[in-house]
């Protein structure tokens, strides 16, 4: 896996998913189709605790829960993007190094 982790395993993907605007709990589970409800909840609760996302319960007809990026969370997109840029740029070197290491 990537040598970067932002928070826990799903935090960076949540961050990326929320970049385009607020999403509901079940909407987040679609792109992150490998995550269970429990684990996603844990991630979101932690990010909420840290002020990165804002959780809003709608009492009206939609009856949904929406998660959105706070300004603080939005400010984290930049370091995340830098990390992703590094990864895409150096991914091959990393794989090469691993292969060279297992088969010298």
């Amino acid at each position: 896996m990537l040598p970067f982790r932002f928070g826990d395993k799903w935090a960076p993907l949540v961050l990326a998913c929320l970049e385009g605007g607020p999403r509901r709990f079940s909407e987040l589970r679609v792109p992150l189709h490998r995550v269970t409800a429990k684990v996603l909840t844990q991630s979101l609760r932690r990010m909420e605790r840290d002020g990165l996302v804002v959780r809003t319960v709608h009492a009206d007809l939609k009856r949904g829960v929406e998660y959105a990026l706070s300004p603080l969370g939005r400010s984290m997109l930049e370091p995340l993007a830098v990390a992703c840029a590094w990864a895409t740029e150096h991914w091959d070197e990393l794989l090469d190094a691993r292969e060279r290491h297992t088969s010298p």
Copy 2:
């Protein structure tokens, strides 16, 4: 803790320690005074496998083992610096958010 992790727990500190030049195993343990030999070895081995650090055994009088950053490892200093900059800039907001969350 920080919402960023580069590789495992000690990788970012190792990276920072090696920024100034090659260091020996025991020299690395000084600034990282909470790490045991086993865990530091694990970190270093992984970083070596990934091509981030280079391990050199000196056969001459010094009889030491030196670790140095590879060009790839050196290139990781930039995303690391960006993450650190974010952290120092937003550390207070993060702490405030946590405190606000425990005592509303």
